[in-house]
């Protein structure tokens, strides 16, 4: 099975063609661009495709990071993956950035907690068993809540949020990596193992930040009468 993996959930713009039957990376292109994923994404895919030396229609599925991460970046990736899936008649699957981070250390002999710094004193976190099975749902947590969770599962910490949690715990040795971005081949590997049941949907873990507006309203007679 040949996977096309895409990631634009953070500062990287990455694409890889990966043969899951023998675990070979056929082509892998990663650009650290910060922003402007909408402009670069197709060129990155094309560069990886040329490196792999295959046609787009030879792929069997598309895997894409669905977050948590930059809302805009996630949508660049998900829209691209779903557009490719529609036009190629192949399934697309979503891989969370937390899953991909955890997969970078698997197989481990202990449970792993993937933690991304979400700013505003929050982290996005999820705990995985040694074999990669998720033990909790991905969630936006305060650093303190994340620390509790790490202790409860006696988990090693990985990801950009791990120093925050490790320092709160006073256990710097618990953090095994501070990576803030995912390895595109991990996305491919995790994506290869998934059941392609529903199209990938963004995992925001935060609401759109909109509040119903009442301030504009003038008083109405029937409102007073009620």
């Amino acid at each position: 099975m040949i996977i096309l993996a895409l990631d634009s959930s953070a500062g990287l713009c990455a694409a890889a063609f990966y043969d899951a039957s023998d675990g070979t990376a056929l082509g892998r292109v990663v650009e650290d661009i910060g922003r402007g994923h909408a402009e670069r994404m197709m060129a990155v895919i094309e560069a990886a495709r040329l490196e792999a030396g295959i046609a787009l229609k030879e792929i069997d599925r598309i895997a894409v990071t669905v977050g948590p991460g930059s809302f805009t970046g996630i949508r660049v990736g998900v829209a691209t993956a779903r557009g490719l899936a529609l036009a190629l008649g192949r399934p697309s699957v979503g891989v969370t950035t937390l899953e991909a981070l955890a997969a970078s250390v698997a197989p481990a002999d202990v449970s792993v907690m993937a933690i991304l710094d979400a700013r505003r004193d929050e982290v996005f976190a999820q705990v995985f068993a040694a074999d990669g099975t998720p033990l909790t749902d991905p969630a936006a947590l305060s650093v303190a809540e994340a620390a509790d969770l790490a202790i409860r599962h006696d988990a090693r910490l990985i990801g950009s949020g791990s120093p925050l949690v490790a320092s709160l715990l006073g256990q710097p040795e618990r953090a095994i990596s501070e990576a803030g971005t995912v390895e595109i081949l991990d996305v491919a590997r995790v994506g290869a193992g998934k059941t392609a049941s529903a199209p990938p949907a963004p995992l925001y873990l935060r609401s759109p930040d909109a509040k119903p507006q009442e301030a504009y309203l003038l008083a109405r007679q029937e409102r007073l009468a009620q």
């Binding site: 402007g36 909408a38 402009e39 670069r40 994404m41 197709m42 060129a43 895919i45 094309e46 787009l56 229609k57 809302f71 805009t72 949508r75 660049v76 998900v78 829209a79 691209t80 993956a81 779903r82 557009g83 490719l84 899936a85 529609l86 036009a87 190629l88 199209p199 949907a201 963004p202 925001y204 759109p208 930040d209 909109a210 509040k211 119903p212 507006q213 504009y216 309203l217 003038l218 008083a219 109405r220 007679q221 029937e222 409102r223 007073l224």
Partner: protein, 364 residues
């Protein structure tokens, strides 16, 4: 004679997720094979307006399904499509990204050209699809985001005669509705209430009246409505109806006065056209009082009024597909895969900036 061209159009610049298949025939006429529009009205209604992040989230979940529906209704497949056209601006950036990336991906997977279309060009060229106009014509675009008067001289040849210097007309309708506590979207509700109100009860301004330049302004009118309404609060149903009617009257009077100058200018610029056309597009064009006022105005000036059917006046992807087909038919180059979405993108880039020029350039 060129062959017919089949284009898939994608539109996601505001709060409608839309896809359409349009064929342009060798003689320049067109057929809409399908026109699917998913409105996000219910998702934005609690907020009294379009929330950009909510819109972007809805687009990315819905768009591929809407495209599949459009293909199915047109009884065609991507194999038969000659090009993909996607709105790449102006509009809400989150939605534009979703539509443009989907278009780029489909183009890459099928090896077909991608046209990144200006949303306003879609509105501008609709009359060539629906009514087959070839002469230069005047376009009045009135929506929640735009209020512009343009000369459409041909595909890619647009001259802006006037624009709003502050609020768009649809915005003024929506804000009036909002302060009166009328449900979203406010425009149709203001029209409904106005029908039973007294248009002469409240003395509201006619912004820009008598000014030589052709531009519009609606911010002062909106503020005047608010002041009058505040003076009479708490408002009875009758007060609300009278405010709506007086507001709508101020709008139609203003449009008549402003456009009268625009029509005169067009006559002077194109004396050879016997019966020129004023094309009206945008969501506000659905307002019957405005249509009536425009009909009588154009009649007085010897113009004919062309108002596209409502489903082609409001945001849709058929107009985007058509704009792509027109560009392809002229042999214009397709866009490259690095084309960027543009939240701001004036149709007439040579026009003097009147409103909101910032880091991203002129708003309209």
């Amino acid at each position: 004679m060129p062959n017919s061209i089949l284009v898939l159009g994608i539109e996601t610049s505001c709060d409608e997720t839309a896809a359409s298949l349009v064929r342009r025939n060798p003689d320049g006429s067109g057929n809409i094979l399908s026109n699917v529009v998913l409105s996000q009205l219910d998702e934005h209604a609690p907020f009294g307006g379009v929330v950009p992040e909510i819109a972007a989230r809805a687009h990315v979940e819905a768009l591929d399904g809407i495209i599949s529906q459009a293909l199915a209704r047109a009884e065609t497949t991507l194999d038969d499509v000659d090009a993909i056209a996607a709105t790449s601006g102006p509009g809400l950036i989150g939605g534009l990204i979703v539509g443009l990336m989907t278009g780029k991906a489909i183009a890459a997977a099928t090896g077909k050209p991608l046209y990144a279309v200006n949303h306003l060009e879609g509105h501008a060229l609709t009359a060539r699809l629906t009514d087959g106009i070839r002469d230069p014509y005047l376009l009045l675009l009135v929506s929640g985001g735009h209020t512009q008067l343009l000369v459409v001289a041909g595909v890619g040849d647009y001259r802006r005669l006037a624009t709003t210097i502050d609020d768009a007309l649809g915005e003024a309708f929506d804000k009036t509705a909002k302060l009166l506590g009328l449900p979203y979207p406010g425009g149709p509700e203001v029209e409904r209430r106005a029908a039973s109100g007294d248009p002469l009860r409240f003395d509201l301004p006619r912004p820009m009246h008598g000014e030589e330049r052709l531009d519009f302004s609606f911010s002062g009118l909106k503020t005047a409505v608010r002041q009058q309404a505040a003076k009479h609060a708490p408002l009875s149903e009758e007060d609300v109806a009278d405010l709506c009617a007086s507001f709508q009257k101020a709008v139609t009077d203003t449009l008549e006065e402003r456009l009268s100058r625009g029509l005169t200018r067009f006559r002077a610029d194109f004396p050879e056209i016997d019966t020129p056309a004023l094309v009206v597009a945008g969501g506000v064009a659905a307002n019957r009082a405005i249509r009536t006022a425009l009909a009588s105005l154009t009649n007085r000036h010897g113009f004919r009024l062309i108002a596209a059917p409502i489903e082609l006046c409001t945001d849709n992807a058929a107009m985007i597909a058509w704009a792509g087909a027109e560009r392809m038919a002229l042999g214009l180059l397709a866009d490259t895969a690095d084309v960027a979405p543009r939240s701001r993108w004036p149709l007439d880039e040579s026009a003097e900036v009147r409103i909101g020029s910032g880091r991203r350039g002129a708003k309209a």
